[in-house]
Amino acid sequence: MSSRKEESKVREKKKTGFSGLWRTICRQKYLILMMLPGLLWFLIFKYCTYAGLGLAFTNYGFKKSVDFVGLRNFIRLFRAPQFWTAFKNTLIISICNIVFYFPFPIIIALLINELRSLRTKRAVQFMIYIPYFFSWVVVGTIFVNILSPSSGVVNQILNAFGFDSIYFMADPKWFRAVLILSYIWRQMGYGAVIYVATLSTVDVQLYEAAAIDGCSKWKQVFYITLPSIKPTIVTMLLLNLSHVLLIFEQIMVMYNASVYSVSDVLQTYTYREGILSGNIAYGTAISLFTGVVSLVLVMGTNWISKHFLEDSIL
């Protein structure tokens, strides 16, 4: 209530023009001072680099002289079949990551929350967070070992059940599954940490009241826990969406020539064309395109979140 009053007050003041605005600024001087360093940082380290996106319209990096070439890079981009393969793969892998990975940390966090002993709780939390300390190079090596057709654990289990060994890392049919599973393996603890932190702030009294009312645990989860962490879930979804298109390192260290067609993504394509071939302008054009697609994706989700959950995240 009071905030609404405040807002209307602000609106009134705005009507009086510049002096009103000035008064608001004066009143919020601490808030503005607190924001300033951060905003300046954004201006310098984010928005200044965006000026560099203009390179997408030049032939920078190919010849000595830099010329404006208009949309040439984009035309080449849209004509390149490898680009479309990369785009398609990025979308497929991203969507699979969201669908399969995203619920995992939530479930894990809820399950950890159900553990009684605080010590066990902490131990489990600690363990599932460890893989996040490994860089992808290490994770890649680990998965090659586990999935090896001759000596890997997974194939030994398959053999025990009478199935043939599968060369997961080289089979286009299986490789995406490997990518997603290894993603879950490494990132699960990272997501869970946030949910556990949020869960710890849910009011205990709510549970006590529900228990007195004879609410089953399941109902408590659905009517108290999940609604309490709903904003976090939506935020995490959006944040995950915003960088799924930027998936790079994992694929870079895990893929090999035989699975290019199912795993070459926009970022690996950019790396090959932009950095390794020295065609910076073309690489920037792909970056720009990726950014626009991400923007549409995130803004779309934000819009949906605003309309259906009455809760805008950004």
Partner: protein
């Protein structure tokens, strides 16, 4: 819902028991899946050269030697370790100093220009200009080959900022206004009321920052020229990551040495985590005061 409270509770406790057992089993399975490869890394790091040659996957120790660790502690890797430590500690400190106030300010609904600022910040979540414009910016700021080039440009992660901001938005306004009535300005409110209430999420974000500073690789290679300023990740990569050999031959380094450096790379985070973790649940104590 209230129909048969007594019988409900009895039935429930039976179901609860089963759930508990399954829950414990499931989490145990998850932990095992996670632990096995890590165990392998640790066992390998203590093994002799002979036992790790030829892509052997060790789970049962064949030999135990501290040789690999002694070598590392007396080598150039330690310099990388301290460089990383400097970047991660200073970086995390600065990142928190700059992220938290911004997150708090943006969480205030009355903030002037809030919507447009949020829009502009959200854009940075999805747009990445790529390494070249970034390099040119760092160069024009005179930060190339400075350790600060690994700190200042990463002081804010939009991702973490939004997590902080959204958490702070969920803090009841009544609490903030009560503080204001007590004569607190925004800065005091942040320090006295908001931060204590946000300890769980802030410790999580702090951990994220630390890990991201600690593990940063690409930029460390791009922005640093002098090898005495390289971070541990750079050194680790030149040890672990295999080039196609066409670039020439480096030293022959066996897995045990690689794994020992990997363990060194994980050490600080492993040490810090249990301390930070304590605060994930501390919110419980203040949670009761919330309403």
């Amino acid at each position: 819902m209230k129909r048969k409270p007594a019988s409900n509770r009895i039935r429930e406790s039976g179901a609860r028991k089963i759930f508990r057992v399954f829950n414990a089993l499931f989490l145990a399975a998850v932990c095992i899946v996670i632990i096995i490869p890590i165990w392998n890394v640790i066992v390998t790091s203590f093994a002799e050269d002979k036992d790790v040659m030829g892509g052997v996957y060790l789970l049962i120790p064949k030999s135990f030697t501290l040789k690999n660790y002694i070598r590392i502690f007396n080598s150039g890797y330690m310099r990388g370790f301290w460089n990383s430590m400097f970047v991660a500690v200073v970086g995390t400190g600065l990142a928190m100093l700059i992220t938290v106030p911004l997150g708090y300010a943006l969480a205030q609904k009355k903030l002037i220009g809030r919507k447009i600022i949020m829009r502009l910040i959200s854009i940075t979540l999805v747009f990445d200009a790529g390494i070249m414009p970034f390099y040119i910016l760092i160069k024009s700021l005179g930060l190339i080959d400075s350790r600060w080039s690994l700190i200042v440009p990463f002081m804010i992660s939009t991702f973490n900022l939004i997590i902080v901001k959204n958490f702070m938005t969920s803090i009841p306004e009544s609490l903030i206004e009560a503080a204001k009535l007590d004569g607190c300005n925004d800065l005091m409110t942040l320090i006295r009321v908001v931060i204590p209430l946000s300890v769980p999420i802030l410790s999580a974000v702090m951990l994220f920052y630390f890990v991201s500073f600690w593990n940063r690789y690409t930029e460390a290679v791009m922005f640093i020229n002098n090898s005495s300023k390289y971070t541990l990740q750079v050194m680790l990569r030149s040890l672990v990551f295999q080039s196609d050999g066409s670039l020439g031959e480096g030293n022959i380094v066996y897995d045990n040495m690689k794994m020992a450096v990997m363990v060194l790379g994980m050490l600080p985070v492993l040490v810090i985590y249990p301390f930070v973790q304590r605060y994930f649940v501390s919110g419980l104590m203040v949670g009761g005061v919330k309403e």
